[in-house]
């Protein structure tokens, strides 16, 4: 029978078995942060190689491994989990929920991502990392041209991590649809929740495309199929279509939540409600929709003909319209406000002009015939780093500084945060701004060297120094985290920033059950409304009572070990391992289905005790 006693897990075991969205958020943060540092290190090594012409530190296959692993790690193992970290930490609190819809699935999602990421990175020590680029274009990534097991690691690692992301996305869709507090209609949802919602929908539709591509590639590489083998009637462009049908929406999967984070931070620190909220929501939906209509702009030089190129070119240009709406709405949120320049807000405000540049080079790239010059040059490298680092990473940093107290109950150091911002911001622009020019001056991307005497020296040198400065900025963030958590300091207040949304109505860090009583929401910026009405907190929508909680489970962890073993088995053609691994997964699934989990209850006494201790 089910466990009704309250389980008291501690230490490592608690982290492995937890199904609490707040703890899973922290797991995502730590794992994603680790991979982010790894990807950053790979980037720095590449920049060192490209600091001066014709250097010989990392050339040929080694450089290709670095560039492949940098891209793959940053997109799948750093950016995605860091987004999920914030979504886990914030979304349930913002909608007044006690947890996500499927806590077990949430935990499974994390562990699958993690085991996929570890599998992929083990390739470094087991015969070499993949070296066909994060885009893994066939036939280069096929067995004939990538003979090491590198790409097999890529194919299996990403499939496993991809299942994790997909179920994570579904979980958030259901959570946001079903678990909003009474009164929180869709058009009262905070902007970040809205973007998390659209992002989850994009995940649902985009990830299956790459999964199909990965499965085909896996069959080609491991079982000798010929989907991409031209000599046997296969087609190499099929991969590119599948990859970009996923790949383009992926950009919006990553950037939309950053839009949401920025919206929350700017509105809080301008002390104003978000200007043009409904236009912002509308723009988010339109961007998400159009995001699926433009993948061919990654393939303008593939030779699909002028009609396709023109149509996809126009579709791409259209995305500029909703994006522009967002930028002006942020500016007018600030207009007339009382702007406080906290570290979080510096990142958010710095995001605006930086992302504008990234968006504008995006419009330039959308012009198909001009793109014949930009495509696969450093201009593209500059563009997408403006979007992903200048956009998404600045958004994430803003989010960390802003929600850190809610996640950990401690405030990050503001002074260090400001240094963190300026170093990162200046380093970023030094790294990537010159790359626009390098591209136009004839430097292709993914090259391990360039020749002297072609006027490419200065840009590359500045770029490398910028990367070093950016690296120092990132390290400062780590120092800040270490300092914050080592220093004795009082527990952070529940509402340190004069916040506007529900997460600031509960203690920092949020108690296990989030809301002692589910709040009743009376409008957009629910907490702000109560503040303006002179109320101390939210009006509860229910009487105080025992709270039902899901029980922790180790099954997700074991399942992902099973997937990991199976993945290794497939990589090395040891099918016994594959069968054992998948067997473990099936057994876990059987247990999960067969054994009822009735969870447990936190009783009223304990809730009262916790609420009394909280610093509200």
């Amino acid at each position: 029978m089910a466990q009704h006693v309250r389980p008291r897990n501690t230490g490592l075991w608690d982290w492995i078995t937890t199904v609490d969205h707040k703890k899973i958020g922290i797991l995502y943060l730590v794992a994603g942060g680790f991979f982010f540092l790894l990807g950053g290190l790979e980037a720095l090594l590449m920049r060192l190689q490209l600091m001066y012409p014709e250097q010989n530190f990392f050339i040929g296959a080694t450089f290709n491994e670095l560039l492949t692993m940098h891209g793959t790690t940053m997109i799948f193992l750093a950016a995605m989990p860091l987004i999920f970290a914030v979504m886990n930490a914030v979304v349930p609190l913002q909608i007044g929920a006690r947890d996500v819809a499927f806590p077990f699935v949430n935990s499974l999602g994390f562990w699958l991502f993690f085991s996929g990421g570890v599998l992929l990175n083990l390739s470094w020590f087991m015969g070499g990392a993949p070296e066909a680029g994060w885009t893994a274009y066939v036939p280069l990534s096929g067995m004939q041209f990538s003979k090491t097991t590198g790409v097999s690691f890529y194919v299996l690692g990403l499939q496993i991590a991809g299942i994790g992301t997909l179920i994570g996305g579904i979980n958030f869709l259901v959570t946001i649809i079903n678990m909003r507090a009474p009164g929180m209609t869709f058009m009262r949802m905070p902007m970040f929740t809205w973007t998390a919602f659209i992002t989850s929908a994009l995940i649902l539709f985009a990830f299956p495309a790459i999964t199909v591509g990965l499965v085909l590639l896996m069959f080609d590489r491991i079982f000798g199929a010929v989907f991409f083998n031209v000599a046997s009637g296969g087609n190499v462009l099929l991969w590119q279509h599948l990859f970009w049908i996923f790949g383009h929406p992926e950009v919006y999967i990553l950037i939309l939540p950053a839009f949401g984070m920025i919206s929350e931070v700017i509105s809080t620190f301008a002390k104003k409600r978000l200007f043009g909220y409904s236009a912002m929501v509308f723009a988010t939906i339109v961007i998400g929709f159009l995001g699926f209509m433009v993948w061919v702009h990654h393939m303008f030089t593939v030779g699909l003909g002028p009609v396709a190129n023109s149509l996809f070119s126009i579709a791409t240009m259209l995305i500029a319209v909703p994006t522009g709406i967002k930028i002006f709405n942020w500016l007018f949120t600030l207009w007339g406000g009382q702007i406080r320049f906290t570290a979080a807000n510096l990142f958010a405000v710095g995001f605006i002009p930086t992302f504008t540049i990234g968006g504008m080079t995006g419009v330039m790239l959308s012009v198909a015939p001009a793109d014949y010059q930009y495509q696969d040059s450093y201009f593209v490298v500059a563009h997408f780093h403006y979007v992903l680092v200048g956009g998404m990473m600045l958004g994430l940093f803003a989010a960390f500084y802003y929600w850190w107290p809610k996640m950990f109950g401690k405030m990050l150091n503001e002074a260090m945060g400001k240094w963190n911002f300026w170093l990162f911001f200046i380093g970023f622009h030094l790294t990537f701004f010159p790359q626009h020019f390098l591209g136009l001056m004839g430097m292709p991307r993914r090259v391990f060297t360039f020749m002297g005497g072609q006027q490419l020296e200065l840009g590359n040198l500045i770029s490398t120094w910028g990367a070093i400065i950016m690296g120092v900025g990132t390290l400062l963030f780590l120092v800040n985290v270490a300092y914050t958590h080592m220093k004795k300091q009082p527990q952070a207040p529940a509402d340190p920033w004069d916040g506007r949304t529900l997460e600031w109505t509960i203690a920092s860090p949020a108690p296990e059950y989030n809301f002692a009583q589910t709040p009743r929401v009376r409008g957009i910026d629910a907490f702000w409304i109560e503040k303006m009405a002179g109320n101390k907190g939210m009006t509860p929508a229910e009487p105080l009572g025992p709270i039902h909680m899901p029980s922790p489970s180790v099954l997700p962890f074991i399942m992902s070990i099973g997937f990991f073993i199976a993945g290794m088995g497939f990589v090395f053609n040891k099918y016994l391992f594959a069968i054992v691994g998948l067997g473990i997964v099936l057994i876990c699934m059987f247990f999960r289905s067969y054994k009822d989990d009735e969870g447990f209850h936190i009783d009223v006494e304990e809730i009262k005790e916790t609420e009394k201790g909280a610093r509200l």
Binding site: N64, Y137, L140, F145, V230, V236, A270, K271, K272, R273, F275, G276, A279, T301, V302, G303, P306, S310, I314, M317, A320, I325, N329, L331, F332, L334, W335, G336, G337, Q338, I339, F341, I352, P353, T356, I357, M360, V363, M364, V367, P369, A370, D371, Y372, Q373, Q375, F437, L440, M441, G442, P444, R445, R446, T449, F450, M451, G453, Q454, Q455, L456
Partner: protein, 339 residues
Amino acid sequence: MIRRLQHVGRMLPLLLMVALLLTGCGDPYLSALQPKGSVADMQFNLIKLSIIIMLGVFTVVVVIFTYVLIRYRKKKGDNSIPEQVEGNHKLEIIWTAIPFVLLIILAVPMVTTTFALAKDYSNDKNVVQITVTGHQFWWEFEYPDQKIKTAQELYIPVNKKAHIKLESADVIHSFWVPALGGKKDTNPGMTNYLWLDAKEEGVFQGRCAELCGESHALMDFKVKVVSQEEYDQWVAKMTKGTNKPANNAVLADQGAEIFQKSCVNCHAVDGKGGPAGPDLTNFGDRTTVAGILKNDKKQLAKWLTDPEAVKPGNLMIIPKLEEKQVDALVEYLHSLKRE
């Protein structure tokens, strides 16, 4: 009319600034910002147009941004609560409509240029027909009408269009000569085409733009734009010419012998030999070895002694040659000059 002129007048400084900022950027043989052909010209015009539009938008954003940040920063002691504005329909419509207009201004030349660049000149007798094949990590050039095969250096006459068929022998590469025009991929199992011309004689650098393996970075080639007479001469030499006698005929003969034994499986000279490596018929006329080294005795010897050290992962896999053999081969290969 006058108002229009004023408008242009106001745009002029901006235009000048953009032109100054961009042109003259980079190596004239390599930079897309110093176009030397009609295709690159058209593309550069689009680049300039889009930059001007974007700079306009950026200026508006930055002006509002700076104003807002300075004007509305929180002052000490001011704890008033700003008015909670919901939005403004008029503004929303403005910043939705204006981008639409700007995009139309950009979209029209985009469409016309896209179609102009896609024109098929494969049946045009006044256009030079060339087939380009990408190999890991070198370029093969074939002139089917003249039955010429060569590598690394592409000859075209000035002011004349070239129709270029693009094919691949292995993985995807991308053919890019920034100063003459944008790139296009070479896809295995498919044929692409593009056209180019050059308005100036000279040598322009071409590169592979799609990651194609270990030595992708070194997959360079050259486009030699010459006068029509010079081009005709070159064609005549390549089709009917013979080789100059070597300086040291004895040594060269030794080299030829080694070549027939160890190299001819992969390299063709005068139409005889295998296709796995570049055709070496006019190798003595080339300015580079393998597209990247200077073609002199020392560098050629370096290549023959250890190709892997020059281009990692390249497919010229040969047993180690002795110094004497290398010297003989160098003499022979440099004698492959057409007359």
